[in-house]
Symmetry: C2
Subunit: 656 residues, 2 copies
């Protein structure tokens, strides 16, 4: 049932085209009833004021065969509606029958109903001398001042009596049996229909072992991979293994391949029941990848799919997921509300992959840069939202597996699609993701002593810049003691009292210290980190860098430079907060200023990033400045179980 | 020009109906060209794959007369396009001529063009054996690897030469004069058209003196008014005074009256060029109030209106403004980008009034509660965003006047529409709004000494609860010294280095102290206040209450109780942070716990709020508990210029 008010909204206006994605051979049917009662709160509706020919033309244009049910006499209307429904049911069955017997051949005009009836139908005709039925006045409260206006009381009584309750209820006020008998039984009752309580129908996904898709990482920060492309291979097999159960779909606003999830198309196609041409790529009426250039439709389809007991995965350019902020809000509120309803069974989580993110919009630029969906998401109740920022492919696999198994959440995963350095092998990735945040020992050199500074990071590009900053600092100020902390699960930063994933204060203080400076490189707007951590002991020493709405079409490294998130800014921030390097640090700060100038000149002249930036791998600086004693090897030898940093240096060497 | 990819988006799908709001007698014309080149990044487009009859039917249904320009031979297509444009121009002129000569009579079918041409038209036919022209492959980079693939170089050369540059440029590479001559001159050039640089056309609004609409406030917290209704009277006269200049419109998603801006309809109507019935209320083709149930359309209309040099005002339910988050983002980014372009003239600010807000959703409930648009807005650059939370009608008037005069900002005003207590007379309101935040001396009793606690507030309901808490505390703990601070301009909280409205640290420390507890009652999600103030000296003593996503359909006071923002929670929070009341406060804390129980029982039994809550006015507790010495009067006598608190007590008495 679509009201003619809500039919004016954009998301609804485009969603009529969903019939080009519905395959009668395998999918259910939708019977849209556009209810033209003519008015919103205060205005007539747009569709109700179209001439009949235009209205019919519009819905024919949307691909439907409209049936008009119009009038105001209840008896006549009930009969007309019943006849129409009978005719339409037969027509839908014929469409399905044809497709199911002979295979899907071509898109048919699906029937729909345009129901035109008076607003406030069968309510009071007139109140206080003003037209009520058939006018916008019946939108909310037709009769007010019931305590003080006896005329209104009389109108109410007349109105109620007009339904002849004496013919509907017995003397005890109970519905008479012959009417009660008319209601459907059991699961056919609207409220008991299992599709309205999708958790009843939910089957666990058959998931392949995500560890089998691991990127080999023999040493951190040497191998390169496109993290979302690796995820695509996992999703391909998730799709494959659940084809038979027909309960997994992937949604995207025309970005499945742009987001590097191409592999999924090896086992299924994009769905379309519209005309398909020979030049089209991986499109057929049987596909389970749903692509349309409308984030609203993707979101709406996915919500419906989850609410009826299935599973899905929605990949989207990060900046444009804001398009569905309001729909996300309502879904999250629905989830929040359901937790306390005992008969409602949990449904699968709504999983977002946000990629093509703020830091790598190479040719798109400023309009495509907005990491603020996380701020919207974290406004909703902790019990229904989760945010993950896996820094590489193996952590992304681990997180995605977790999200696909979860229930009743909105999971937001932010991960890059560009080729990028890989940090953790699969064992380390699983441990790291399970904890949600942790010290990266192989990158730290404070073990057994006090750190001078904690360098923290969340997100793939901030992780890269932080590690490069650490490498740089340890090369140029070898006596510095640095602890590197990476955060995958953003909710660990909050106090446990605020979020179930929150780290205890004891653990937080142990990891972030209670008195050392923390330089935090964050993927999103920096204040989100302050907002999550302001109650933590060491908050006053926390210094966050992130996106501060500086952007243009430029090189990847320049993007971090103009937002003060680059390795040199992070190194500079650390030196500024360490009194013991006040004097010795001056030369390094001078070097950093030179680097910025060098960078600017190079990108303007050459049009790409400095070789020092493009070629950087873990250990680059400590290798390339052999005169400076490096403490890396010594430290890594303490922990034979972690990936070898020696190897990292070796690789950096052969690459330089 | 509408691409067939973007035509799939919801906002665009509904915006075709804008023709029902366009009056050819006074407005300009729009000639939409739907460009079907058939493909998006990777997929065919929905509209390009409709059968011709459906496509035509769709646009006839949208109210247009579609002209098809289809083909792939450039010569033929150029001629066809030119002929079509000639025909259409004549048709548009005829429509305008008719309406301008005889007055607007009825909606005509406006012409539009459906241009069907190959994607990558006149580009390479085939690259690496794959079809390029006429396929999705030509969406981005038709020829890559230019440095390493000589075959691609050859293709590029062939492609470029196919345009016969030797016939277009002379030997010096200059465009030949007969072609250069074809370009329009002066303002007729697309880039020099003043409508594309709307600031050139912008005229200041004629504004009435907002002080003339002042609500009389003889004593704070006694008079009742609906703040947005008062604003409506001001907007009515803004509309009136600029009718002749025809450069002011009001937009709303069917909520102008619901948001209590009814007075505007005394001087103009809602615009509609669709069918109008006798029962319709204040609707005609000449109206300047634009209402449609689509926040997207309101936003789009307003952006276009501002960008072409006019002024506007957009009122919206607070929770649903999230629908346009993404559009707001792009407009803000556009404003940011324009600041550095010297030839771009400033345009009028985009003014939002968010009302029907989170705290008063009496019969709507949880789905209508979301104050998070402020979090989205404050992510954008400080130089283009402003946020105001006027606590009453006079401050709202002062803020609205300021916003309507401003340029190149997005102004967000949050204000309630329900009857509520009024605090400041007009003189005090102007001073308060000009500073942006300030101590309310009449409510404070710490003058001449140190406060024990700072009670701060931003937003109308939080201000009410804070003042009631102060009244309650001063009644039950008369020796307590409280400073009341109200914040209208949220940006004053930020450091001056972050926002031009930011208070200097010296002033901030002076007002909020450097060491006293601050209880901050905030309209929105509480962490926004932390995010804005985390660098301030006294941040560690800041305790913020706000909306924490607890909501349902309940009484107004219960809404603040379930979010811990009510007067009793605020009082309790203060006592908890004041060691000197650790013992004496126990009885008050006991009383508070009793109040919560009393409240819960009362609303469940009676269905409305406690008389103590409904009847509360400033001084209620200090009056109703005469045995407790009150320090209110003594304090107020220090400041004869501020509104009399004696009067407030007097009124409360007569009301009790």
């Amino acid at each position: 049932m679509v009201g003619d008010g809500e039919a004016e909204t954009g998301p609804l206006a485009t969603s009529w085209h969903s019939n080009k994605f519905l395959n009668p051979a395998r999918d259910g049917a939708v019977l849209p009833i556009l209810h033209l009662n003519g008015y919103k709160i205060a205005n007539p509706t747009v569709l109700a004021r179209l001439p009949q020919e235009e209205l019919e033309s519009l819905f024919v244009g949307y691909g439907y065969k409209p049936y008009f049910v119009e009038g105001s006499d209840p008896e006549t209307m009930h009969l007309l509606m019943a006849e129409t429904l009978d005719a339409i049911t037969a027509e839908i069955k014929a469409i399905q029958q044809e497709a199911r017997s002979h295979g899907y051949q071509q898109r048919r005009q699906w029937p729909m109903i345009i129901l035109r009836s008076p607003k406030g139908w069968t309510g009071p005709q007139e109140v206080d001398g003003k037209q009520m039925e058939g006018s916008w006045r019946s939108h909310q409260v037709p009769l007010a001042e019931m305590a003080s206006n006896p005329e209104h009381i009389q109108l109410l009584e007349d109105w109620m009596k007009s339904y002849h309750p004496e013919t509907l209820f017995d003397q005890n006020g109970k519905l008479i049996p012959e009417l009660a008998e008319l209601a459907p039984k059991g699961d056919r009752r609207m409220g008991a229909n299992p599709h309205a309580n999708g958790g009843l129908l939910l089957k666990d996904l058959e998931l392949p072992d995500f560890r089998e898709y691991a990127v080999e990482v023999t040493a951190p920060g040497t191998a390169i991979a496109e993290s979302t492309r690796v995820l695509g291979q996992f999703l391909r097999d998730v799709m494959q293994q659940n084809q038979e159960n027909r309960n997994f779909r992937v949604m995207s606003p025309d970005e499945n391949n742009s987001n590097r999830l191409n592999s999924v198309l090896e086992v299924t196609n994009r769905v379309s029941t519209a005309e398909i041409l020979a030049t089209d790529d991986h499109i057929d009426p049987e596909g389970r990848v749903m692509e349309v250039l409308s984030e609203h439709m993707c979101q709406g389809w996915l919500e419906g799919y989850l609410l009826t007991g299935r599973h899905g995965f929605f990949s989207c350019y990060e900046a444009f997921i804001h398009i569905v902020d309001s729909m996300f809000n309502q879904h999250a509120k629905w989830l929040e509300s359901c937790i306390d309803i005992p008969w409602r069974r949990s449904i699968a989580s709504l999983n977002y992959l946000l990629t093509s993110h703020v830091w790598r919009q190479d040719h798109n630029g400023f309009s495509h840069q907005d990491p603020g969906f996380l701020d919207v998401v974290t406004n909703k109740k902790a019990k229904v939202v989760r945010v993950y920022l896996p820094p590489d492919a193996n952590t992304l696999l681990s997180v995605a597996d977790h999200c696909l198994r979860s229930r009743q959440y909105v999971n937001v995963i932010v991960a890059g699609k560009q080729p990028e350095l890989q940090w953790l092998d699969m064992d380390a990735a699983i441990k790291h993701c399970t904890t949600g945040l942790g010290i990266w020992e192989w990158a730290s050199n404070d073990k057994g002593s006090e750190p001078d500074v904690v360098m923290a990071c969340a997100g793939d590009v901030p992780t890269l810049e932080t590690l490069a900053a650490v490498d740089f600092l340890r090369c140029h100020l070898p006596e510095i003691k640095i602890r590197v902390v990476n955060v995958v699960d953003l909710m660990t930063l909050q106090p446990r009292s605020e979020h179930p994933h929150g780290l205890s204060d004891v653990d937080f203080d142990s990891i972030f210290t209670t008195d050392k400076p923390i330089i935090f490189a964050f993927h999103g707007y920096p204040w989100l980190i302050h907002r999550l951590t302001y109650r933590r002991t060491n908050h006053s020493n926390l210094h966050v860098r992130g996106y501060k709405e500086e952007g243009t079409t430029t090189t990847p490294f320049d993007m971090v430079v103009i937002n003060d998130l680059d390795r040199f800014h992070l190194a500079n921030d650390a030196i500024d907060r360490l009194p013991k390097f006040r004097n010795s640090g001056a030369y390094v700060k001078q070097l950093i200023r030179d680097k910025w100038v060098e960078h600017r000149q190079y990108i303007v002249t050459v049009g790409k990033d400095l070789p020092e930036v493009e070629d950087w791998k873990w250990g680059y600086y400590n290798h390339s400045a052999p005169k400076t004693p490096s403490s890396v090897s010594a430290n890594s030898q303490d922990k034979p179980s972690s990936p070898s940093v020696e190897g990292a240096e070796g690789s950096a060497r052969s690459d330089a």
